[in-house]
């Protein structure tokens, strides 16, 4: 799976979790400049990533995952 394909799937997750069909994200999107991305929505996002990509993150990875780029890297590292 290419980075773009991964990004697209992550975007679908974000659109569902934030209930915003128009939402556009890129690799630079991060928790700091995204007010609604609070700790509660973060849980849903991480859970969804594990479900959609069929991976299990360690607690270290999940804690550090504060940007879309880090999510993509973690998924690419799994060889997907």
């Amino acid at each position: 799976m290419s980075r773009d394909e991964i990004l697209e799937k992550i975007q679908e997750i974000f659109r569902d979790v934030f209930d915003d069909e128009q939402l556009e994200i890129d690799e630079q999107t991060n928790r700091e400049d995204f007010g609604e991305w609070d700790s509660l929505t973060h849980i849903s996002i991480v859970m969804e990533l594990m479900q959609v990509f069929n991976v299990k993150f360690t607690m270290d990875e999940a804690s550090a995952m504060n940007s879309v780029e880090k999510m993509i890297v973690a998924i690419v590292e799994r060889g997907l």
């Binding site: 209930d19 700790s39 849980i43 849903s44 859970m47 969804e48």
Partner: protein
């Protein structure tokens, strides 16, 4: 909403919860649905935000408009035990205590003696009991308490269940004490997360990732399952249970077609694989009758063939087990509407079980609110029906156990009534006797159940909890009466509740309702007569009646007018206010029921 019906996808619900909520609110607005308001305080021993979010979805989907109070993180005990202004101001109808085995304070140590472990168990239980008692004293509302799920490891292996040092053994014993308390206390209900986690799979349920990362004491994907379970308890308490199970015959109750294979050719015998499966399903259906569910047949068959099948030696269910049997070639939706009239129950209290997807669709499209489980093949039927908890029994009252017989007697009465030219003669022939008395502790459960589920003959549709009723019946300024009715066919049990609130020598009728079983029996007249005589006794000169229209109570729109009240107000919603001067020669209205005189 289909996404929230069994078998739902928990992950999907968590992911789309915002969208689902938006769609639910849209459909509520579009259909101008009337929702039951309910205030729920969730006191949590771990993170509860998704618990609240999911509970909101399931309650909205079941006709509630919930409002929530959420305790601070892991402050369930303190918030319950001590003065809590915010919670008092919120005035909850229901308090849900979301605790798990993560909240246990004293676990047994391997070095403990039996006595030490017993002490720990008592102490642990007492901590919960103190909290429940404090809640009862402060809020007099319904309490729903999680039991304890198992831990996912066993130091002693299989011995963990047996030895008193084992955590599994300890949790079982603690749960048993919870259940004992629940049996002894009305208004206290257990949410069985031990069962839920077993169904879900304990290894998945107890995923520590969510605990250490976010202090969720369970897999987030299982939260919808938990919320569904709690919403079913609430549904049941508020009288939104289903009451009737309508079942098809061919390939649903038995294998094969009775019209073609004949009664002897049907699969329900003990010596074949599918026969056994159908028999087990029949036993399950028969058990529903024992908890007060009314069974009906709706089958496309000649009536004679259907009866032959039911009367065959192999068949566990007999014609007598059913409140009514419709075997003909009409559309099933038509038959269900007829059943609804005969049993005087709204179609939305029906569950329809049919193996044929086309029949299910025909009924689904024509009858709104009816529940129709998607059943697949006979070995799955029981689970596919059962997991919906249509008939969830939070409290089994004596009336529940006799209900099937009562409705059958009612059907006989309907038949009899056709023989009389004059309706009053028919009513007299029933030799009705009523007991109308003040509500006391013994009647609280049944009267509240009746208030919360009566829709048709209900002037104000006032709902309340047992706690509220317990307070009202003690207060001087209320007249709280129930009426029970017996006739020559049997007992009907408690069938009417009237609540009057006295202010400035005027009695305001806050609630006036009848069970739909006894509509058109003049019981309402007997109730009004007694209310008037009580009022005269207390020196009250005027009655005020109120009619608040809903979709279901059009039947009583003119009730107060028929009883001689004078309309004094009507607002734009059709809410009307009525007045009756009772000092000016009120004459008793009931002429057909013999009412037992008060002591």
């Amino acid at each position: 909403m289909k996404e929230l019906q069994y078998p739902f996808d928990g992950e999907y619900i968590i992911r789309k919860k915002k969208q689902i909520k938006r769609r639910l609110l849209e459909s509520v607005n579009n259909e101008k649905q009337q929702l039951t308001k309910v205030k729920i305080a969730v006191l949590g021993g771990s993170t509860t935000s998704d618990v609240v979010a999911c509970l909101e979805l399931f309650l909205l989907d079941n006709g509630f408009e919930p409002q929530f109070y959420e305790s601070d993180y892991n402050r369930y005990w303190e918030e319950a035990m001590f003065d809590n202004e915010k919670l008092s101001a919120f005035a909850p109808n229901i308090i849900y205590i979301y605790t798990t085995n993560r909240n246990i304070m004293s676990w047994p140590f391997m070095t403990d003696s039996n006595e030490q472990i017993q002490d720990k168990l008592e102490r642990e239980f007492k901590r919960f009991q103190d909290m429940w008692e404090s809640l009862e004293k402060r809020y007099q509302c319904i309490v729903i308490q999680n039991n304890m799920e198992f831990v996912d490891y066993r130091l002693l292996g299989n011995g963990d269940a047996v030895d008193c040092h084992g955590k599994i053994n300890y949790l079982q014993r603690l749960n048993a004490k919870f259940y004992e308390y629940a049996r002894a206390h009305e208004r206290f209900y257990i949410n069985d997360i031990q069962y839920l986690s077993a169904c879900y799979g304990l290894d998945k349920w107890a995923d520590r990732f969510y605990w250490f990362m976010y202090k969720y004491a369970m897999d987030i994907k299982a939260i919808p399952l938990l919320a569904d379970s709690v919403s079913k308890i609430i549904k049941s308490i508020y009288g939104k249970n289903k009451k009737v199970l309508v079942i098809d015959l061919d390939n649903t109750l038995w294998g094969g077609m009775v019209g073609e294979n004949g009664a002897d050719g049907l699969e329900m015998q003990v010596d074949t694989v599918k026969g056994q499966a159908y028999r087990e399903f029949q036993e399950y259906i028969k058990e529903q009758r024992d908890i007060g569910v009314l069974l009906c047949v709706c089958s496309k068959n000649n009536e004679q063939d259907a009866l032959e099948g039911l009367n065959s030696k192999q068949c566990i269910l007999k014609p007598d087990d059913f409140s009514a049997i419709k075997a003909n070639w009409e559309n099933k939706s038509i038959n269900i509407n007829v059943l609804s009239k005969e049993l005087t129950l709204l179609p939305e209290s029906f569950v329809f079980v049919d193996d044929n997807a086309v029949e299910r669709e025909e009924v689904r499209q024509r009858i709104s609110g009816i529940a129709i489980p998607e059943i697949s093949s006979i070995e799955n039927f029981i689970r596919e029906i059962d997991r919906n908890s249509y008939f969830e029994m939070t409290s089994l009252t004596g009336d529940d156990l006799q209900r099937a017989d009562m409705y059958k007697a009612n059907a006989r009465r309907v038949k009899e009534s056709k023989k009389f030219e004059n309706y009053e003669d028919f009513l007299l022939s029933l030799k009705m006797k009523a007991e109308i008395k003040e509500i006391s502790t013994e009647q609280v459960a049944r009267t509240v159940q009746l208030m919360n589920k009566s829709n048709q003959f209900n002037l104000t549709t006032l709902r309340m909890t047992e706690g509220e009723m317990a307070i009202i019946m003690m207060r001087e300024e209320y007249i709280a009466m129930y009426g029970s009715l017996t006739d020559c066919y049997g007992e009907n049990g408690i069938v009417s509740v009237v609540l009057g609130y006295i202010e400035d020598r005027i009695c305001h009728i806050k609630a006036f309702l009848l069970s739909c079983r006894v509509i058109k029996r003049d019981m309402e007249k007997a109730m009004l007569d007694r209310l008037v005589s009580e009022c005269c006794h207390k020196g009250i000169s005027e009655l005020r009646g109120y009619y608040y229209p809903t979709e279901k109570n059009k039947l009583v729109k003119d009730f107060y007018s028929d009883m001689g009240f004078e309309k004094i107000d009507e607002d734009t919603y059709g809410n009307t206010t009525w007045k009756l001067d009772i000092l000016r020669n009120y004459s008793n209205k009931n002429k057909v029921i013999q009412v037992e005189e008060i002591g």
